[in-house]
């Protein structure tokens, strides 16, 4: 991997006396997928949040296509997350009163894309994610797996550089999990984005190119499944 899209170098984050991250180096390239695993409280979320510009590390730096993002203002960081990153969370990230297609179109509209165009672009993601015919359903009318796929569509709609997923299958059963993570990895790769995913499920992690094991804020193990 010669030219990483996103790299974290020497990341350290402390909460009082708790050391959440203790010098972590990590990088992902385009079409690359990275799973972060580890026991509860080991620092997985903190690592993901640091890479995504949600949490500022105490030391170390985060480079997006070679540019440091950890010194940007809150405003710029927020815009960066909106435009260049996509997010998938465990559950509850869709606005319950918006139909699926408008949930997907929302980030585009926030970028100033006219509504009709935004909805049109949003609809293009429904077929690849097996969501055909669900455009007008509201989140309450979707199954857990369907809702997660809509969330994936929303994350990808802005055509981001990196998709961050924090336990995207955490609220799903085994079969649904497999299907969701399969689509997440494949569609993200087709789109040309990198994927950083936190999971506690080894089967889910196995869909990624590489797996990082985190323990007490450090990388304890590193597995490469495929040759990038």
């Amino acid at each position: 991997m010669t030219n990483p899209v996103l790299a974290g170098l020497g990341l350290v984050k402390k909460y009082g006396s708790t050391v959440a991250l203790d010098g972590v180096d990590v990088s992902v390239g385009a079409r690359d997928s990275l799973a972060i695993m580890g026991p509860s409280g080991s620092g997985k979320s903190t690592l993901l949040h640091s890479l995504a510009g949600i949490v500022r590390p105490d030391s170390g730096t985060v480079l997006l296509r070679g540019e440091a993002i950890d010194k940007l203002s809150e405003e710029r960081l927020s815009a960066l997350r909106r435009k260049r990153f996509g997010f998938v969370f465990q559950f509850g990230q869709l606005l319950p009163e918006l139909p699926a297609e408008e949930n997907v179109a929302l980030p585009l509209m926030l970028e100033g894309v006219p509504r009709r165009q935004a909805v049109e672009r949003a609809r293009r993601w429904f077929a690849p994610l097996d969501l055909d015919g669900l455009e007008h359903r509201r989140p309450g009318q979707l199954s857990g797996g369907q809702a997660q796929r809509v969330a994936i569509a929303r994350a990808l709609a802005v055509e981001p550089d990196v998709v961050f997923a924090d336990e995207p299958t955490g609220a799903l059963d085994q079969t649904t999990s497999t299907e969701v993570v399969r689509l997440l990895t494949s569609v993200t790769r087709e789109q040309g984005a990198a994927l950083v995913m936190v999971t506690h499920d080894a089967d889910v992690a196995a869909h990624c190119d590489r797996v990082l094991q985190v323990r007490d804020g450090r990388i304890s193990n590193y597995t490469q499944f495929t040759v990038a």
């Binding site: 509850g92 319950p96 009163e97 926030l110 509504r115």
Partner: protein, 672 residues
């Protein structure tokens, strides 16, 4: 085994930190406001009834073996009604008991006055007031009417002892001498003071106050349930932790109920005690004939307990039902599978009600009570159509929306139109009441008699004689007047078809009072009267409704603003997860905030505008039936009120902006 619910609740309540305490305080404050407002309005209703009964003795109740003649007359000083009860013991009959408020039955020439009248007699020159009564004997002074005979400490009442042959006691003086006498004059041979007819100046008080209770009930219910929701939304945050700790949904609901009931009861009781503490101050608030005697405004233990319990129950039920939706969903998130559609039937019923009201008012000839019923129907019709309008509004706005904030607001409106309606209903209906009443504060059609004094005479010859006499008396009293003899069939004059004279006075209210006093002895024994006398019947109801509406309007604003603020805060807490995650994903907070404001402002502007207009129209119909004209300054007042109300509402919603910032700031919201 002892249930762990109670100690666990206590522990969690104490451990819930500053935000927990704040939300408890807010909920308790809302309960206090609700209980206070309801008790004050109920007190006015109960007190108005008690008070009106105190006036009943003044209207004579004919008795078969009567012992005395009683005559009721009303005269006006400084525009205020002064009730004069004349009493004459019939010779050779048994003694008549003393009237309420007096120690003995008054002898001829004795005058008893209420404290407020005594004060006024002291203040005004004798030529303007005292001259209307018999002079007290040298070195004697007026007697005082005690509390038992009075409805209000501010009431102007006189009891005058006369001879049975006095012209003031004559049949013609009191009964049917004037077209306007209805309920202001009466005469009968009585055996005591067992009358049951409430005075004209108090009998509409209770119905008007009851209207206020009804108009305020819904806003208070909305406020209470908003308070309950707030507690539950916060409780939901701890739901996951409680479940991990092994609490069953039943226990969680039990804890929530207990906590909400404790907070609600504390608040409601505080509000109720504040009402008790405010009783002396409330007694000073004039309503109709004036302020109140202590005790009149005490609602009684049943109402007191009833209001406290009702507010507590509302908060508890609202908290439990809010949380139940969450507990029963597997992910602990309140999700509505289907938007609650509002059906067309609401509009149909609304239009039917309007058509019915329009037809009923078209004919005129309706009694005050019919109007109250129609008004309530009007009010109910709005509760029916409100959610429907909100729903349609949401869909139209969603279709037209270009910006994400507008789209979000519009979708939320049609997602829960009833909830959105509840938030704005208080202000919308207050706007309706304001539209209706502020325009009703009317000058009744009587201004043509301004500055006139009418004297009734027995016949045409008497009238000419009275005119000459009046000229002399008015000259002596230094009053400039133009006196005309009015023919019997002039129904448009202040005499309303009676024979007599009308004096046109120049120089204002003091001169008018002087003229009334100077002419007291002229004519058939019926006291001279002014425009106030002629319009008293209409004004007694309309003025009271106007009083109540002003109070209702002010209180509704307070209640509606409080519930809008609470609802906005509860909405933020309800959605803190999705808002938090959206913020993590880079959604600017101001978009979410704008959506929040728009989802209230949009229906507020459309509905408040609509109802105010309808209220003005309704008032027009109402006034029309009473033969009165619209009040323009009332309309202006109304515009200012609605604007101030909307701004207060806006401020109340913006008040939860820091809360939004805070609950979305914590990245730990994201699950690990």
């Amino acid at each position: 085994m002892r249930s762990p619910v109670l100690p666990l609740t206590w522990h969690l309540t104490r451990a819930s930190g500053r935000r927990g305490v704040q939300s408890h305080l807010l909920a308790a404050g809302a309960a206090a406001v609700g209980a206070f407002v309801m008790l004050v309005m109920i007190a006015a209703t109960v007190g108005a009834g008690v008070r009106a009964d105190r006036t009943a003795w003044r209207t004579p109740e004919p008795a078969r073996n009567g012992t005395a003649v009683q005559a009721l007359a009303t005269t006006y000083v400084r525009g205020e009604p002064l009730t004069v009860v004349s009493l004459a013991q019939l010779p050779d009959r048994a003694a008549t008991p003393a009237p309420p408020g007096l120690g003995t039955f008054p002898k001829k020439g004795e005058v008893y006055v209420s404290p407020a009248l005594a004060e006024l007699l002291h203040k005004l020159p004798a030529g303007q007031l005292a001259g209307r009564f018999p002079k007290p004997a040298p070195h004697a002074s007026y007697g005082t009417i005690g509390e038992a005979g009075l409805a209000s400490p501010d009431e102007l009442v006189a009891v005058v002892g006369r001879a049975a042959s006095d012209p003031a006691m004559s049949e013609t003086a009191a009964t049917g001498a004037s077209y306007f006498d209805q309920d202001q004059a009466a005469r009968a041979v009585v055996a005591g003071f067992s009358g049951t007819k409430q005075s004209l100046f108090t009998y509409g008080d209770q119905a008007a106050a009851l209207l206020g209770v009804v108009l305020l009930a819904m806003p208070v219910v909305v406020l209470s349930s908003a308070a309950g929701r707030l507690g539950a939304a916060r409780r939901e945050q701890r739901l996951a932790a409680l479940r991990l700790a092994g609490a069953t949904p039943r226990q969680i609901l039990g804890m929530t109920a207990l906590e909400a009931a404790a907070v609600g009861a504390t608040g409601a009781l505080t509000g109720a005690l504040a009402y008790v503490a405010a009783l002396p101050a409330l007694a000073e608030v004039p309503y109709g004939i004036g302020g109140w005697y202590p005790g009149q405004l005490w609602v009684g233990a049943e109402w007191f307990a009833g209001v406290v319990l009702a507010v507590t129950a509302l908060i508890t039920v609202s908290a439990v039902s809010t949380l139940r939706q969450v507990v029963s969903s597997p992910l602990g998130v309140a999700q509505q599978a289907n938007p609650r559609r509002t059906r067309m039937i609401r509009l149909v019923l609304f239009l039917a009600a309007l058509a019915y009201i329009w037809r009923s008012t078209g004919g005129g000839q309706l009694k005050g009570r019919d109007y109250v019923v129609l008004l309530l129907m009007f009010y109910g019709a709005f509760w029916l159509v409100g959610p429907w309008v909100v729903d349609r509004l949401g869909r139209i706005a969603a279709r037209c929306a270009r910006r994400p904030a507008t789209l979000l607001a519009a979708r939320r409106l049609s997602d829960d139109p009833r909830g959105a309606w509840r938030t704005v209903s208080g202000l919308v209906l207050a706007g309706f009441a304001a539209g209706f009443f502020s325009v009703s504060m009317l000058g009744t059609d009587g201004s043509q008699y301004r500055d006139q004094v009418a004297v009734i005479t027995a016949n045409a010859a008497d009238a000419r004689h009275a005119a000459a006499e009046a000229r002399t008396l008015l000259d002596r009293a230094n009053v400039n007047a133009e006196i005309s003899v009015v023919p019997e069939d002039d129904y448009d004059s202040l005499l309303g078809g009676s024979r007599g004279i009308v004096a046109q006075i120049s120089g204002g209210q003091a001169r008018l009072d002087t003229a009334v006093t100077a002419l007291a002895s002229v004519g058939s024994g019926h006291p001279p009267y002014t425009q106030d006398y002629a319009t008293a019947g209409d004004r007694s109801i309309v003025d009271r409704i106007a009083d109540v509406s002003t109070a209702t309007l002010a209180l509704s604003f307070v209640v509606a603003t409080a519930s809008a603020g609470l609802t906005a805060a509860a909405n933020v807490l309800d959605r803190r997860r999705v808002y938090g995650l959206l913020r993590l994903a880079g959604t600017p907070l101001r978009v979410l905030d704008r959506a929040r404001v728009r989802e209230t402002v949009l229906p507020l502007v459309v509905l408040a505008g609509g109802t105010v207009a309808t209220g003005v129209y309704g008032s027009y119909k109402f006034n029309h039936a009473f033969g009165a004209s619209l009040n323009v300054s009332g309309a202006l007042e109304l515009a200012v009120c609605v604007l101030v109300g909307a701004l207060a509402m806006f401020a109340a919603i913006s008040g939860s902006r820091p809360l939004l910032r805070k609950v979305t700031a914590d990245p730990a919201q994201a699950p690990d």
